[in-house]
Structures are given as C-alpha cells and as structure tokens.
Amino acid sequence: MEQPMILEVADLRVGYGKVEALHHVSLKVRAGEIVTVIGPNGAGKTTLLSAIMGLLPRRSGSVTFLGSAPGEIEVERMVAMGMTLVPEKRELFGEMSVEDNLLLGAFMRRRLGHRDDAATMAEVYGIFPRLKERREQLAGTLSGGERQMLAVGRALMAKPKLLMLDEPSLGLAPLIVREIFHVLGRLRKTGVAILLVEQNARAALQVADYGYVLETGEIALAGSSAELRDNPRVVESYLGFGGKH
C-alpha cells in the first residue's frame, strides 16, 4: 500500500542575486519514510531546505505540502501546517533554559489552540533523558551533542508531519550520531516523514529508505538507499574508504 504523499517539490529554482543555487530540483517524501539528500559541501543542500521552509524565496517551481501548494511560502504558515526544520546551526535560544526552548517549540501549536505541550514534553524527555537532567540549564551551556538533542527535541514539540534535518551529524561524536539516527528510525515508525540532508552519506544511507544525490544545484542521482549504496559513483565519491565521509 502506498503511503500518502507528504511533500512534493517540483522544478524548484532558487538563487541569490545573479547566482542560481538550485536548478530544477524535484523530490518526494511520503508518510513514514526517511528520505535523504546527500552531496558535497556547497551543492545547495541547505538552500534546498531553506526554500522548502520559506526562509528563502523561490524563483520558480512548486512546493506541495500535505496536498496544498501555497503561492507564497511563509515560514509561519509552513510551521502551522506541520513542517519543522532543525537547521544546521541549531539556532537555539542560548540564554534561555532547556525547558523554555522546548516550550517555544510548541509555540505554534499553542497558538492554534492545542494544549498538549506538557504531554509532548514528557515524550521528548523520554526520547532524550539527558535533556530532562539539564532542563533548568541554559541552552548555551550545553555540549554539542546535547545541543543537537535539544534542537531535535524542540522540533518534535511541534508534533511535525514532516521533520527536516540539516546536517544533524555535523561536528558530533560517532556515538551521538548513532543515537540521533536511531531516534529518527523510531520516529519514522510513528508515521512522521523525515527529510534528512547529510554530508555523512554512509550514516544517512543506512537509516534512509530513499536518497537523492545533489551536486552543484542539481539532482545527479536518485534511488532507494540500497541502490545508491551499490552505485559505483556513490561508492567512489561518498562512501569511499579514502575519503573522510
């Protein structure tokens, strides 16, 4: 049985000034699916997520989320519809407590009249017990791994239908990367769709169902994770033993 479509990006073009960073990018994410976009630094991966979220304006193309394609993509509206982004820089509220950071993750749900943030926070603490220990602490004083956990936990507070993560493994110890990816695997089972942008292709292809390879602003390859893992080009460029990936 086909799962319902959550996100469909068609022919997306995004640019900064005269430079075009993304040319005609198309991709799909279904419910309960982890889709990864891998590719080298500067291929346009962060630009892609920013444009889907509405942080950057598009030049052309469409972003269909849960069946509707807004003419103008606004961040607040996408959040209200159930899209969240864990940005590469985490963008935490450093001078506020861990608990307040989590609470603000549910800001839009609270505004829309949902009053379930206490239960959601208990779930997030269940997933990341470390955050519960640190809940009074200021977010700015957390370690790198804890900050990433907080960024993911804060995104989960919005009970997203689509969770987008930008380089969650960046700068983290392998053990913590494994823990975060394990959480993603568990989230998928609850029906959340996940779009994972990664430079760490090996880890990403292990957890993902489907993958796209983005190179210089274009989708160079696409296929199931198993296909991509066996593709000689992917092996050579992204999984090779010589590289740092």
């Binding site: 607040e76 935490l92 307040d100 609270r110």
Partner: protein, 345 residues
C-alpha cells in the same frame, strides 16, 4: 547641604529615575526585538500626558485624529497588498484594528463627553487613544524595513521623532499643561514631606516592572519576544512571526511611554516636546545597560535621575550637561570591558 535637602533631592531623583527606568526598559525591549533605536519613545510620554490634559480641559485631543489618520493609511496599504496577492484572509483583523477601532474611539471621544468623566476613566481613554499609535508607527515606518541595518532604522527613528514632535505642536500648541494629582495625600516621614503623587509614580513604576518581569518569564508571548531577541531565525522556525513580535514590542513601548507621561503630568508641566528630553535620559540609562540588560538599564536610569536632581542643586545651569556627559565615561567603560564577540554560531 543638610540631610533634609539631601533627602528631598534623593526623593526627587528617585521619582524621575523611576520614569527614566520605565523608558529605558522600553528602549531595551524595542531594540532587542526589532533593532530599532526608538527615539520617538518620548513623544508617547508627551502624547499620553497631553491627551489626558485635553480631556480635562474638555477638548478633543489631536491624537484622536492621528489614530484615525494612521488607521486609514494602514487600511489602504493592507487592502492594496491583499488585492495584489489575492490573499484576503488577514484583511478582516487589519480592517478591524485600523478602521473599526479608531471609529469607535472617535465616537466615544466626540459623543461621550470625557471631560465630565472620573480621572481613572480619562486615563483609560487616553491610553486607548495613544497606545495603538505604537504598533501603527511600527506598521507604517519600520515593518517595510524589517531587514534594514541598525543605522537605517535609526535614521527612520529620527524622521518619525521629528514628525511626531511637529504633530504634537499642531495638536496641543506651544502651551504646556499640567494635570491634577492622583491623590492629594501627603505624608511626613522623618521630617521629609512625601506627596501622594510621588508614591503613585514610584509604586506604579515598580508594579509595572514586576508585571513586565512576569510577562517575560512566565507567558508564552513574553518568551517568544525574548526568543526573537536572542535568535530571530530560530524564533521564525518556531512559527514566531518577526512582524508580530515587532508589533507587540511597540505596543508595550507605547503603553509604557503613555503611562509614564500620565504619571508625571501632575508633577511637572508637560509641553509638546518635553518627551524628547525625558526619553533621552531613559536612553542614557539604556546605554549603561548596553541596550541589552534590563536590570542594569533600570539601575542606570535611576542613577541618571539622582544625578540630575543633585546637580540641579549644585549647578542647576549645567544640569542637562552633567547628565548627558555621563554617557561618555559609560561608553568608554563599556568599550573597555566588553569584548566584541563575533556573531554566535
């Protein structure tokens, strides 16, 4: 100088300092959330005081027409935007606030004869006219420039300030006004006379500071404003609109300004341009706090009040000079003690 005089000057300084502290908090808040250095803060002080004075003189305050005029201008802009984008969903609330609300306010002022009302109701009506001017100024002057640099926003602030001072002269004339005290009571504390109005100013300022503290620490919107001040992108990703946060900070700043004006109007004669100097003294306090720390800004503002009142005794001709010169050692001290940190990752 004997103890008696020192206590009197101290009392005077604290009363003024309390008002400067409120304004300093408003300036820090607006700057943190929107990066706007809100020079027109003082105009809200004058508008609050003079609107109340107009009611008491049985006149229709010009701020009513400013409310109606800005409302019509914003409504026209919003209709234009809605027609261009074909998005009508937000229009109802925009028209409600910018056309219906001023219309209701005009009806109350013109037909309700507020001149015969009790002081408390007049205060409420004055706030109801002046406070919405804050978010309206934001909508017209600052919202279209949301991502402009601090310098551009500062230049806009100067323009808004000059415009509002000019309108103040047009509305209220060059004559100053004073309003009756909230209470005629006075107390004798160890030989020092403390008037009821003094207690009102200090008490109301302290209460307002506590309310602001609770708002920022406990309420969701208060936390959302802090979040926007700390990390704008992060806040947007939570669905906190930069525009909404900006408007809310201007509502608070206008309310603090208007209330300050209403509190000082019985103590000092307020002219159309009095607010500017008062606002600048609040600004000195805010600078002491580095435009970032609320408690240091408030303490700095009270220091400004005390310095002003003592220097008016020793060297009254140099009163303002001494107060504003304070900014130089403060800036030197701040530039030596604060390390310039790169934008946080």
């Amino acid at each position: 100088m004997d103890l008696q005089i020192a206590l009197l000057l101290g009392q005077d300084g604290i009363v003024n300092g309390a008002i400067y502290a409120l304004l300093a908090l408003a300036l820090v808040l607006v700057f943190a959330v929107t990066r706007v250095i809100f020079i027109p803060q003082g105009e809200f002080v004058a508008f609050g005081a003079l609107t109340l004075a107009s009611f008491q003189a049985g006149k229709v305050p010009g701020t009513l027409w400013l409310l109606v005029g800005m409302g019509v201008a914003i409504a026209a802009i919003e209709i234009g935007i809605a027609l261009r984008n074909g998005t009508l969903r937000r229009l109802t609330s925009a028209l409600g606030w910018n056309l219906a609300y001023p219309a209701v306010a005009a009806a109350v002022v013109l037909l309700g004869q507020p001149g015969s009302w009790s002081l408390a109701l007049q205060v409420v009506l004055a706030l109801a006219l002046v406070v919405p001017l804050g978010p309206m100024v934001y909508r017209l002057a600052y919202q279209p420039l949301q991502s402009a640099s601090v310098l551009v926003l500062l230049i806009v602030s100067v323009a808004v300030h000059l415009t509002l001072v000019g309108l103040g002269l047009l509305f209220f004339g060059a004559e100053g006004s004073r309003t009756p005290a909230f209470s005629d009571a006075s107390f004798d504390w160890g030989g020092v006379m403390v008037t009821g109005q003094t207690l009102w100013v200090v008490g109301a300022s302290a209460a307002l500071i506590v309310v602001l503290y609770l708002f920022f620490e406990r309420s969701l919107w208060g936390k959302a404003l802090r979040a926007t001040a700390i990390n704008r992108t992060g806040a947007r990703l939570m669905g906190i609109s930069t525009t909404q946060a900006g408007k809310l900070s201007f509502v608070l700043a206008a309310a603090i300004g208007a209330l300050s004006g209403i509190l000082i109007a019985p103590i000092t004669t307020v002219y159309y341009d009095t607010g500017f100097i008062i606002g600048l003294k609040g600004f000195v306090g805010a600078i002491v706090g580095g435009m970032a720390s609320y408690p240091i800004a408030a303490a700095g503002a009270i220091l400004v009040g005390l310095l002003e009142s003592f220097s008016s005794f020793w060297a009254s001709a140099f009163k303002e000079v001494i107060v504003f010169t304070l900014i130089i050692p403060v800036l030197i001290w701040r530039s030596l003690t604060t390390r310039h940190v790169e934008e946080e990752e």
